[in-house]
Each structure stands twice: as C-alpha cells, then as structure tokens.
Symmetry: C2
Subunit: 185 residues, 2 copies
DNA sequence: GTCTATATAGCGATAGAC
DNA sequence: GTCTATCGCTATATAGAC
C-alpha cells in the first residue's frame, strides 16, 4: 500500500489520461494497455476487470482530496480564496483525477458520482464556518462548480494533455474572488 | 423542415432519453431503435449514421436555445433572475437537450461542446447589459453553470426519467438569486 | 419507408505459455 | 508478473426484400 507497483501506477495514469483527452468511450482496456506500455494481459493482472481499474482511480482521487482539503483549511488567504482559486484547473494530479472522475460519472458510473459528491461535501463543510450563512456557502460552492465544469468541457477531446480553458486568469480571477468574498462574508 | 416526420422525432426523443438516463455508452443505435419502437434499419433510414443522429439532437437544441434566449430577454424579473432560476432543471425540453448535449460533450463529441459554448455565449451577451461589469457577469454565469452541473451529475444512471437534484429549491433558490443580484447589480 | 439479415470491427475477459 | 491467442458479445453500418 505504501509503494504500489510501478506498472500499476503507469496503467492508472494512462487510463486517466485517456479519459481526460479522449473521453470514456476511448478509454478501453486495449487503449489503456497500449498507452501504459503493457499488454492487455499484463494490465488485467493488476486490475482484474475494468471496474477494478475505475475503483483504483477513485481510491487515488480520495487520497488526493484529503490532501487538498488539508491545504484548503490551512490556506493563508482562507478556504474560500483557496477553493475558488484552485477550481481553475492547474493540471495538478488532483485536477486530473477530478476530471477523469467527472467523465466516468457522466458515463453512468455511480461510484464516480458518489466520490465527487463526497468531495464536494467536504469542501462545503470546510467553507461553511468562513461564510455568513448557508446561502453564501452555496454561492461559493456553485462558483467553484461552474469554474470546474467549464474547464472540464474545455479539457475535451483532442486537446493533447489539454488543461487550459478560457476561464478567468490573473486579475480576472482576483476580481472574481474579491466579489465572491464580498458577497459571502 | 416545418413538420419533421413523426418517426424522426420519436427516434430523437428516445436517443435523448437514453443519453440522460443511462449515459452515452448505453445510447446505442440498437437501444435507441428499440426505445423508439422502430427497427435499426428504420432508424438508419432517417439518420444514416450515429453522427447524423447527434447532429439532429444538436440542431433541435439550437432551436430551443433561441426560444429560451427570447424568453430570458423579456422575463418580468429580469434576465439574471430568469437565468439562475431556469438553471435548476425543470425537465423542460430545453433542459433535457442541454443534459443530453452535456453527456455527448463529455464523451468527446466536439460538436456538442461547441453547441454548449455557443449557447453559453448567448447567455453572456444577454446578461451583460444587466450587471455592473464583466466580473459580475462571470459570477452570474458561473452560478448557473454550477447549478446546471450539479443537476447533470444527479440526473445520472438509473434515476428513471431522473430530473430532480438536491439543488436549492423554493426559498433557498430565492435567497440565492437575491444574493447574486445584490453582488452583481 | 420500414423491415430482416449480415458483414466487419472492437469490446471485456479468459486460458495458458513463458 | 507479463505475454500471446482467442472466446463470446455487442457495436456501427450495409444490402436487399417487401
């Protein structure tokens, strides 16, 4: 558990990349094995079924989410600033995991939807004490959701390792965060 | 063009319902034909390929989007109120089209992502004159995106004709709209 | 305009050699 | 632990009867 086999990680990374770059339909066992540089048999030694492959991805996402939450709670600018700022994708491992899970959720994999809901709830719990009321919390969360969704749509097919949307950056993002904080605090 | 063949509409409706209720993967030609009550050959007479089926759905969505935009611009409570209020799904034909297009976009169909981007831009143009600045417009748009995305995730697999998320309703929604208007106007 | 039958390819998964 | 070979199934699409 402390040090997963290299091949396992390579397969998981390849599966994740295919989900992000080409969609759930293209993320087949064949394609994943090829992208990871192993044979299909080799892949199926580590993940006995496609369902196990998905579970592996979600487990990894849960760990990254726990790290992210810790960072959010101790962020210098406060949780709200951290939350919104990091909702604009940076291409981090956590971002990639979230997008991949989003693709799976939209394709009808309940375990992925559940994981995303779980993570969103942990954000809600972390943000609630720092805003005025439930409505303000909902507003903050929804802005993050909106940013995330737009980036997810833009990370679509054929954009290579595509993580660069037309969403607010730099000064625009700062202004958006300032306005949100003003409305929510 | 004024009156499309009945079978065409039935097929389009069935395809859309499958996309929403069971995901892109389950929305096969076989399943669509069966749900529409025609044979696969019959379906393929109207839509010569799956790509044409998708195009048909998006064309229909574009028409519904034009109607929606008109309603938004002449809404009694103003475009912002209308926009946010209708971002919580009601199960309208437009809502269903948007979710179906979202599923296709996430599965890597560029034409669907393009349509969604186009529609979002038309909302932006309609809302811009009614808010303080670009940051305020972005905030409003993102809240709608967030609501939409959450509902889309919840409209997932196995929820029947599933359009009923845990998103704000009634008084909660009114409060959210009031807060948004306060921040943006 | 709608059907049945079929061609072709790709899917997830298994078996067994190395 | 990784490979090749193959099974059984389902996908999109075509051909041609009615």
């Amino acid at each position: 558990m402390a040090r997963p086999p290299l091949a396992r990680t390579k397969v998981l990374d390849a599966f994740e990349a295919l989900l992000i770059d080409e969609g759930e339909r293209a993320a087949t066992l064949d394609a994943t094995a090829q992208a990871a540089g192993v044979s299909k048999g080799g892949l199926l030694y580590h993940f006995a079924s496609k369902e196990e492959l998905i579970t592996g991805l979600i487990d990894r996402l849960d760990e990254l989410a726990a790290d992210d939450l810790e960072q959010m709670l101790s962020a210098p600018g406060g949780p709200v600033d951290f939350y919104i700022r990091t909702s604009v994708l940076s291409g981090s491992a956590f971002d990639r995991g979230l997008i991949a899970a989003g693709r799976l959720a939209q394709s009808g994999h309940a375990s992925a939807s559940d994981a995303l809901r779980r993570i969103r709830q942990s954000w809600a719990d972390g943000i609630r004490p720092h805003v005025r009321d439930d409505t303000a919390m909902e507003l903050v969360l929804l802005i993050g959701d909106g940013l995330y969704y737009n980036n997810v749509l833009d990370a679509a097919v054929g954009s290579g390792s595509g993580l660069a949307g037309p969403m607010p950056t730099g000064a625009q993002l700062d202004a958006l965060i300032a306005l949100t904080l003003k409305a929510a605090s």
